[in-house]
């Protein structure tokens, strides 16, 4: 019997929940030394545990969904439209409990019917995407300043923060949809801690925010990231952003070359489809 046949799934889950006794901890540590599969599972599982907790607005979202699904019949036109649009998901749910071969349901993905979003309480809405990388998105508004949320009046914290703190603050502002404040934080990080890992990674984050309104600046930041020798973890994203920026700037031949480089370096990339589509549509 190999070590992996004895993989302690219960201990792995308990470790994720922080429920191990000292003895169990020692047992698991001994197993992990020899089992790469369980090491991988634990690392990935903890990665999900770190982000899948409840978020602000979840309760309102739940109540909104429940209200829409149970409102009286005369007001349910939207719900019926939704039901028609999500026939597949209903099939999935029914199949899930009745033993239908789900693989067949997923084998040929149908074209998606766009489901009209029913109204959601304002506070439950997710923040709007802070940037879009889609090439098809609207073209550049010349010389437009970075987009500022009109409601943003938060004073940015004083400059005593460390590089990790600045990076975290900038990311938080960005995920709240406060693109202008996030850009300021990223720039502050890059100015104060230019050699930090956070500053280097933030080049891509900042460039993605700039792509819509300042593609030339975004391009400089994507290029700066790609020029680094030691920090290329986000190269795929940077190449995609670079090609998108070149497209927005109307630099056709350079854009083509950028898409080709992306496909050559990351042939299995999730961006490949868009790259190929762009290449076929660009003279």
């Amino acid at each position: 019997m190999s070590v992996t046949e004895l993989c302690p799934d219960d201990l792995l889950l308990a470790a994720r929940q922080g429920d191990l006794t000292a003895l169990e901890d020692a047992k698991l540590a001994f197993h992990l030394q020899r089992c790469a599969r369980c090491r991988a599972e634990l690392e990935v599982g903890r990665g999900f545990d770190a982000v899948l907790g409840a978020q602000p607005g979840d309760d309102e979202l739940a109540m909104g969904i429940a209200a829409r699904l149970t409102e009286p019949p005369r007001r349910r036109r939207r719900a019926y439209a939704l039901a028609a649009g999500v026939l597949l998901s209903g099939s999935v749910a029914t199949a899930a409990v009745s033993g239908v071969d789900l693989g067949r349901l997923f084998a040929t993905p149908p074209a998606r019917t766009k489901v009209p979003s029913a109204p959601v309480p304002a506070q439950a809405k997710a923040p709007p995407p802070t940037t879009t990388l889609a090439v098809e998105a609207e073209r550049e508004a010349p010389a437009a300043p970075p987009t500022e949320s009109p409601t943003v009046s938060l004073p940015l914290r004083s400059s005593s923060a460390s590089a990790p703190e600045l990076f975290r603050e900038a990311n938080s502002l960005r995920s709240q949809g406060k693109a202008g404040d996030a850009q300021k934080k990223y720039r502050e990080l890059q100015a104060r801690f230019p050699a930090s890992t956070e500053a280097k990674v933030s080049l891509v984050s900042l460039a993605r925010l700039e792509l819509g309104s300042q593609p030339a600046t975004a391009l400089r930041h994507f290029d700066a990231y790609l020029a680094q020798s030691a920090h290329r973890t986000l190269s795929e994203e940077a190449l995609f952003g670079r090609a998108s920026a070149l497209g927005r700037l109307g630099r056709g031949s350079e854009e083509r070359a950028a898409w080709q480089e992306l496909i050559a370096r990351f042939p299995a990339s999730v961006y490949t489809h868009q790259a190929e589509a762009r290449l076929s549509n660009t003279p």
Partner: protein, 210 residues
């Protein structure tokens, strides 16, 4: 007699556990058409639907809300088929995961939306940005793996590794024997291990020479 000794009988045990489920009464009432119970039940299961949607699509993916709404409707429609072999929350979790997976595959077929799966901006409990980046890459690797593995392995991987259900709970929820689930998980985890070890970006983050 010998047969009875050796025959495993998970169903009665599962039923006993399910009967202790605090949501079971609501589920039965909702099944009987009680709209107030349905409303309370949907509010109660939405957190696990959100976990599944965010897990499969990416925490900040703009389609998460729509997908969760689809899953909630699918859950209500499937209540008639609920046999109380697992808890209501686990039943909902599986529906949430499969609905999000179907949506992910539709997006992939259209070649859109998946660039948001590197959920670097997700609120995280990681201690440092570097750890958060590492975790985001690992999550992306698992998500990408769900595009390639057989359906049964994908389901086991999502429910167990992503959403934290035990092997026994996965077996009860998906109606498969525990040994079958273990076998599916073993294959899926091996694929995950191989993918993580082969991921150059992750090696770079970890400071390991290729």
């Amino acid at each position: 007699m010998v047969l009875r000794l050796f025959r495993s009988s998970p169903a009665p045990e599962a039923k006993r556990r399910a009967s202790a489920d605090p949501l079971l009464g609501l589920a039965r009432a909702a099944k009987g058409g009680d709209s107030a119970a349905t409303r309370t039940l949907v509010v109660s299961v939405t957190p696990v639907l959100l976990r599944a949607g965010r897990g499969v699509l990416g925490v900040g993916h703009p389609d998460v809300e729509d997908t969760v709404q689809e899953a909630a409707l699918g859950f209500v429609q499937a209540l008639g088929e609920y046999r109380e072999d697992c808890s209501v929350l686990h039943y909902a979790t599986r529906i949430g995961a499969l609905t999000a997976l179907a949506h992910r595959r539709r997006l992939r077929a259209r070649g859109e939306g998946l660039h948001q799966e590197l959920d670097l901006d997700a609120p995280s409990t990681c201690d440092s940005p570097a750890e958060a980046l590492l975790a985001a890459h690992r999550r992306r690797i698992l998500r990408q793996l769900t595009d390639e593995l057989p359906q049964a392995q994908t389901e086991a991987l999502l429910l167990h590794c992503m959403l934290g259900m035990s092997v026994e709970e996965v077996a009860q929820t998906s109606g498969a024997p525990q040994n079958t689930v273990k076998s599916r998980l073993r294959l899926a985890k091996e694929a995950l291990r191989a993918r993580i070890e082969a991921d150059l970006a992750l090696r770079e983050l970890l400071g390991v020479e290729p």
